[in-house]
C-alpha cells in the first residue's frame, strides 16, 4: 500500500517535470471518452497539450477530422470558441457535418493560410491566446523545433492543440505529447438491416508521453453522443489487402 502511494507520488513529480499540469490546484477530469482515457497519465485526456494526428489518405483524414470533432465537442461543452487553421487549398471540412459529433460549427473560427510558415505562425499565436478552448492545425510538415515552440506556447496558456498532418513526407519525431492514427472500419447497421451503420474507427494511439500506447475499435453513436468500444474479430493484413 505504502509503495503504491510512493509510486503515485513519484509519477506526479515526473509529470510536473515533463511540463504536465500541476495537479494540486486542478485535478484532471476525464472528458467522457470512455476506456481510452486510462491510457493517459492521470487517467484523463490531456488538456493544455499538443496532440499530433497523422493520416495518409483522404478517408483517414475524414476520420481524423471526426475524432478531433468528438474531442472538441467534449472540450467545448462549457462554451467558448476554437480555431481551425489550415493551409489552403486543402481545407475540406464541411461545417454542416460536425453537428452529429456534438460540435456546433458556428463556434469554430476557420483561418486559411497560404503557406506552411504562415500556418505555423498563426498556430503559435492562437495557442498563446488563453481565451480559445482549442486550436486545430492542418498542415503537412512539422519540424521538431516548430513542435517545441507550439508545446511551449500551450504550457503557458493551457489551450489544447491538435495538429493534423496529412501525408507528411517524413514522420519525424516531434515534441507533441501524443501521436494518433485513425482509420475507418467497416460499419454495421443495427439488427442486421441493410445499409450503412454508425461511423466506426480504428483508433491507434501510437505514442503517448508517460502513458501506455494502445489501440481501440470504436463506434460513434450520435444519439448518446458517446464512443462505444467494440471488439471485432482480428483482421489479418492479407485479408485487408485482397478484401
Amino acid at each position: 500500500m505504502a509503495s503504491a502511494a510512493i509510486i503515485e507520488q513519484l509519477q506526479k513529480q515526473i509529470l510536473s517535470l515533463q511540463g504536465g499540469r500541476p495537479c494540486c490546484d486542478q485535478p484532471a477530469l476525464p472528458l467522457g471518452l470512455g476506456v481510452m482515457e486510462s491510457a493517459f497519465p492521470g487517467g484523463a485526456f490531456p488538456k493544455g497539450a499538443v496532440h499530433e494526428f497523422i493520416s495518409v489518405s483522404s478517408e483517414e483524414a475524414a476520420c481524423t477530422t471526426s475524432f478531433i470533432s468528438v474531442v472538441l465537442g467534449k472540450l467545448m461543452k462549457q462554451g467558448g470558441h476554437c480555431m481551425w487553421i489550415s493551409t489552403v487549398p486543402r481545407r475540406s471540412v464541411f461545417p454542416h457535418a460536425l453537428g452529429i459529433f456534438g460540435l456546433a460549427a458556428d463556434r469554430i473560427l476557420f483561418v486559411d493560410a497560404a503557406t506552411t510558415k504562415e500556418t505555423l505562425w498563426a498556430l503559435e499565436e492562437a495557442l498563446k491566446c488563453g481565451a480559445l478552448v482549442a486550436v486545430v492545425g492542418e498542415l503537412n510538415e512539422l519540424s521538431f523545433n516548430d513542435s517545441r515552440r507550439l508545446q511551449l506556447a500551450v504550457e503557458q496558456s493551457r489551450v489544447t492543440g491538435f495538429i493534423h498532418r496529412f501525408r507528411p513526407k517524413v514522420q519525424s519525431p516531434v515534441a507533441c505529447i501524443t501521436r494518433w492514427k485513425i482509420s475507418p472500419l467497416a460499419s454495421e447497421a443495427p439488427d442486421g438491416l441493410p445499409g450503412l451503420g454508425f461511423p466506426r474507427w480504428q483508433l491507434a494511439l501510437l505514442k503517448v508521453r508517460s502513458g501506455q500506447p494502445a489501440q481501440w475499435q470504436v463506434e460513434w453513436s450520435p444519439k448518446s453522443m458517446s464512443l462505444a468500444y467494440i471488439q471485432l474479430p482480428a483482421i489479418s493484413g492479407h485479408e485487408r489487402q485482397t478484401g
Partner: protein
Amino acid sequence: MSLRIVHIWFERLVTDWVIRRQPELKQIPFALAMQERNRRVIKAVNETAQAGGIYTNMVLADALALMPELEVMDYDTGQAAKLLNALAEWCIRYTPVVAIDLPDGLFMDVSGCTHLWGGEKEYILDIQKRLNVFGYTVQVAIADTPGAAWALSHFGEAMHVVADEQLQALSPLPVAALRLETSIVDRLEKLGLRTIGSFMRMPRTALFRRFGPSLLMRLDQATGTEMELLEPVKPPVPYHERLPCLEPINTAVGIEIALKNLLEILCLRLQRESKGMRQCNFIGLRLDGQVEKISIGTSRPSRNVQHLFKLFENKIQSIEPDLGIDLFILEAPVVEELHGSQDALWQATNAGEIAIAELLDRFSGKAKTLSIHRYLPAEHYWPERSVKEAGSLSEQPATLWRNDLLRPPHLLLHPELIEVSVLLPDYPPLLFIHKGILHTVKKADGPERIEQEWWLQEGLYRDYYCVEDQHGARYWLFRLGDYDSGDVKWFLHGFFS
C-alpha cells in the same frame, strides 16, 4: 479666433530645385525652356540669369542673343506640381491644413498654431529660415485672408505681420496683387488705377459694369467679405495627436516610446468620448522631409493601448528613421462608438471574445493572405449553399444545425468525376474508380435526391448515395441527372468518417 493664413511664394521654385540637386549650377546662368508651337520659350530662370536680363516667357532665341553663355535645359510641366506637393507635405509640421497654390505657392491655415513658435513673426521667420536652408528663395506673408496673404507675399515690402489692418496694408499694393487676369490689369492701368487703394472704394456697380464679376470677387476675397476655401493636401483627421521631439529620434526604442505616449493620450481621449478606433496611422516626419507611415486596422473598435501597440509592433521595423524623426503624428481616421459600461457588465463572457477579436486583428495585421471565416447554417439543402459566412464574431445562428441529414465531414470543393458500374435505373453503384483506384461497394444507402434551386441557379438534380467500400471507407457519391435525358455523370463529393 480670427482666421490667419500664411502664403509662401517660391520665387524660383523649379530652378532652386535644380540647383539643390546640382550645386555647381548656382554660379552659372541657366534657364529651363519648353517647346511652344514652333519656338522654344523660357519657363524658368535662375537668379544669375535673371540679373542678366532674362525673364520667364522670353523666347529662347532672344535670350541666347542677349546672353550667349546661357545654359538651357528642358522644362518638365509636371515638375512644379510634384515639388509643391512634397513641400506641402513637409509643411504639415507647421499646421495640419496646407493647400497647394499652383504654379508656385502654398497656402497654410495657421489659425491657432503660431503661438507654439512664440508668435507670428517667429513662426514665419522659422519657415523662411528652414526653406532657405533647403535652397529655396521664398517670400512669406501672413494675413487674415488667402487673397491678402498672396498679395503681401508677392508685392509686400517685408514679411508683413498684419492683424485686422488688411485694408491699409492692401491699398498701396499694385493691382496685379489681386490675382487678376492680365487683360483686366492692363485695362485698369490704362485708366490710371495703379494701386488697389485707388479703386477700392469706388461704387461696386460701376466696377462690375466695366471689369466684370471677377474683379469684384478677387477684391472681396482679399478683404475677407467673400470666403475662399482652401483645399488641404491631407484632409485633417479629427482624432489625432502630435509629438514633436527636441532631438531627432532614430532608434527603434525611441520610436516605440513615442508610439506608446501618443497611444496613451489618444486612447484617453477616446475613452472620455466613449469611442474606439477602427483604423490608426502612425506617421513620422523625417529631418530630410520624407514621411514614414505605418497603419493598422482592427476588427472591432478598440482603445486598448497594449493591443494597439502590439498591432503596430510588427510594423515598427519598416520605419526608416534615417537621420532622425522630429515629429510623430498618430491619427485615427475611423472611430466608432464603444461604450465602457457594457464591457464591465458582460465581463465574464465578453473578456474572452475581446481577446479573440484582438487575436484576429493580429492575424489580419500580420499577413493579408490569412483569411478568417466563421460559418452559420443556411436553409438550403444544396450542399454548397447549406452554410453561409457569418459577418461578425458575435452573430448567432438563426436556425439550428441540422443533424438528421447525413453529411460528410470532408466535402470536396469541386466534385470529382468517377467511373462507375451500376444497375439501372436507381441502384447504387456496384463499383467505382476514383483516381485510378477501384472500390467495390459493399454497403450503400440512398438515393437522397437534392433538387437544384431553380430560383437561384439552373441545373440538373443530384441523387446522392452513401457507400462503403471493401476496406470500410465511406464515400458520398452522386449521379447528376437521370438516364432518360441521356448523358449521366457520376461524382465523388465527400468522405464520410
